[in-house]
């Protein structure tokens, strides 16, 4: 449904079957489908984990945790059943890549689940897809049913003597549920309130059993890694940052879309060559590098950055979810951070006081500020409130609200000051952040 784009610099691994009709199982088989599972069935579980470790695959949901290491944390022996849980609750603002994977290549995700199961000794996997993505739930339901009909799932898969079940599940609207412990709560039929860790899900997860939770894109990469070899996948990116990644370009950019590029790809090239630059002859002001929870970059910083986990990590920042949002020089950063805060205030589950109260205070303060009622002391207060949310909550939603806010106050303080003394927003009248599609 969503339009596909392409660029010569793309390295198509996870997106290699996009637009090729791979939702049809026979077509998928023609495109090397289920070869990776067959291969995994011949391998020892440790060898599967080692292959994934060699690939340097890191979590594509946003945290960037090494996938092979995560799988390695699952205890070999467990009295309770072990589970694989696919996180398809994609809702980080700016991120729309899992949607394409589920739409074009659902069997790759199923393969990834089975391989993860073989690696850690689980017999059941759940694919959790956000409620808004109903058409993708339907695609996944059909894919799972087709795989059962062929004997690829269920009892004695591929005649191997091993059993494996994959179940589909859907949410009903909640950003918070994209956090792994809240996701488990939701799958257990509850409010998505995060759990305290430790214990980590790899030890105590769904219904108390050891659980591996991976993002859709992470698991979709796994079959390719088994077929091409971990080392070859790793070599596509810089050291410790294996492979490629789906980057979702959005905002003020000439060619928005989802592009698969090697990790470490220069952000400047991504914006001006792949994305075709900034529309309307304007200049770039800021870049959200990986979804609304990441530190916001100035145009000068964006020029220097490479898009891999460690380039951000060494600055104490995050590469994030792959959602790259460009902001042009006519964007009001106060309004922008207000919209971000409105989102986190709406999505805070209310369990942890710093997040529940902090996001609400910040939203109120920023609203007043943007409307011309700002006081000089508010600027420091906004930063102080954000800092005090950091690290003080069960899940990272509080951090996610604080991080972009702190970086915007630090880097665009003059824009806050320009709103003082009842002066109108310098980027309005009409509150227009963009002149793109002209609405009557």
């Amino acid at each position: 449904m969503a339009d596909l784009v392409s660029h010569p610099d793309e390295v198509r691994i996870v997106s290699s079957r996009f637009g090729k009709g791979a939702t049809d199982l026979d077509r998928y088989l023609e495109l090397d489908g289920y070869k990776a599972v067959k291969k995994a069935l011949q391998m020892k579980s440790d060898d599967i984990i080692n292959e994934v470790k060699a690939s340097n695959l890191r979590g594509r949901g946003g945290a960037g945790f090494p996938t092979g290491m995560k799988w390695g944390f699952v205890p070999k022996e467990s009295a309770k059943p072990k589970y694989i849980l696919v996180n398809g609750d994609e809702s980080e603002p700016g991120t729309c890549k899992d949607r394409l994977i589920l739409e074009h290549d659902p069997h790759a995700v199923i393969e990834g689940v089975v391989i993860a199961g073989l690696a850690v000794g689980a017999k059941v996997g759940f694919v959790y897809i956000r409620g808004e993505y109903r058409y993708l739930v339907d695609i996944m339901r059909k894919a799972i049913a087709d795989a059962y009909a062929k004997g690829f799932l269920g009892k004695n898969i591929f005649g191997s003597g091993q059993d494996f079940d994959v179940r589909w599940h859907t949410g009903a609207g909640a950003y918070e549920v994209g956090e792994e412990s809240a996701l488990m709560e939701s799958l257990e039929g509850k409010r998505g309130i995060p759990r305290i860790r430790p214990p980590f899900p790899a030890v105590v997860g769904l219904w108390g059993g050891p659980t591996v939770i991976n993002n859709v894109e992470t698991l979709a990469a796994v079959p390719h890694i088994l077929l091409m070899g971990g080392q070859k996948f790793a070599d596509l990116g810089p050291p410790k940052n294996g492979g490629t990644r789906l980057f979702c370009l959005s905002g003020h950019i000439n060619k928005p879309g989802v592009y698969e590029l090697p990790l470490g790809y220069p952000l400047k090239k991504m914006i001006y060559e792949v994305g075709g630059g900034i529309p309307n002859g304007r200049k770039l002001k800021a870049v959200v590098p990986g979804g609304s929870s990441t530190f916001v970059l100035t145009a000068e910083e964006a020029d220097q950055m490479n898009m891999d986990f460690d380039s951000f990590g060494k600055r104490g920042e995050f590469l994030g979810s792959g959602g790259v949002v460009m902001l042009d020089d006519q964007t009001c950063m106060v309004k922008f951070v207000l919209r971000i805060m409105k989102f986190y205030q709406h999505e805070s589950c209310g369990w942890c006081i710093p997040c529940r109260e902090g996001t609400d205070w910040l939203k109120k303060t920023l609203t007043r500020f943007h409307n011309g009622g700002g006081l000089k002391k508010d600027i420091d207060n906004i930063k102080y409130l954000s800092q005090n949310m950091l690290g003080r909550t069960f899940c990272p939603l509080g951090d996610a609200a604080a991080i972009p806010t702190m970086s915007i106050v630090d880097k665009w303080r003059s824009e806050f000051e320009a709103h003082l003394d009842g002066r109108p927003c310098p980027f309005e009248p009409a509150g227009k952040v963009s002149e793109l599609p002209v609405l009557a």
Partner: protein, 161 residues
């Protein structure tokens, strides 16, 4: 008489067997029930509570957490306009205003004839195809004012049939 169709009820019964606890499939059950009934009625909540061996309060507790679940009727076509960052930068707020004007209703309101309801929503995963909205579960993307009018007109004539 059960508040939901036998077909849906037996689908739930089958699906519940895939999980180790009775309540596990609750969130999808609430959503699919809402799809059938238009909203989560008192009777439906009581029915699902019984089925999952929970109290009605526990079920209501779950309902109140999820933004797609409603205990009051929505319009036949629920227009959900995204104004989160990627959509906002490409005119999402103007799109919402446009829908408010065209439909004559505000955020979380229903038109008098019950055909449309409107909601400003958070990110729907259409960032690279912004601005975007969902009408019920259907995505409408890269929208302009003209396209939006066409989309709304199509739903309106569908409602007349």
């Amino acid at each position: 008489m059960a508040p939901i169709s036998d077909k849906l009820d037996s689908f739930f019964t089958e699906k519940m067997k895939e999980y180790p606890t009775k309540r596990s499939f609750l969130v999808p059950m609430l959503l699919y029930t809402q799809d059938e009934l238009g909203y989560l009625t008192e009777e439906a909540i009581a029915h699902l509570a019984k089925k999952t061996e929970l109290t009605e309060l526990e079920v209501r507790n779950v309902i109140s957490y999820y933004s797609l679940l409603h205990t009051k009727p929505l319009g036949k076509y629920h227009v959900q306009v995204c104004t989160n960052i990627s959509c906002m930068l490409r005119g999402g707020e103007e799109l919402l205003d446009h829908c408010k004007q065209r439909l004559g209703i505000g955020h979380k309101q229903v038109t008098k004839d019950g055909v449309f309801s409107l909601e400003e929503v958070e990110c729907i995963g259409a960032c690279s195809w912004a601005p975007a909205m969902q009408v019920n579960y259907d995505f409408h993307e890269n929208l302009t004012a003209e396209m939006t009018d066409k989309v709304l007109e199509q739903y309106k004539s569908k409602a007349r049939q």
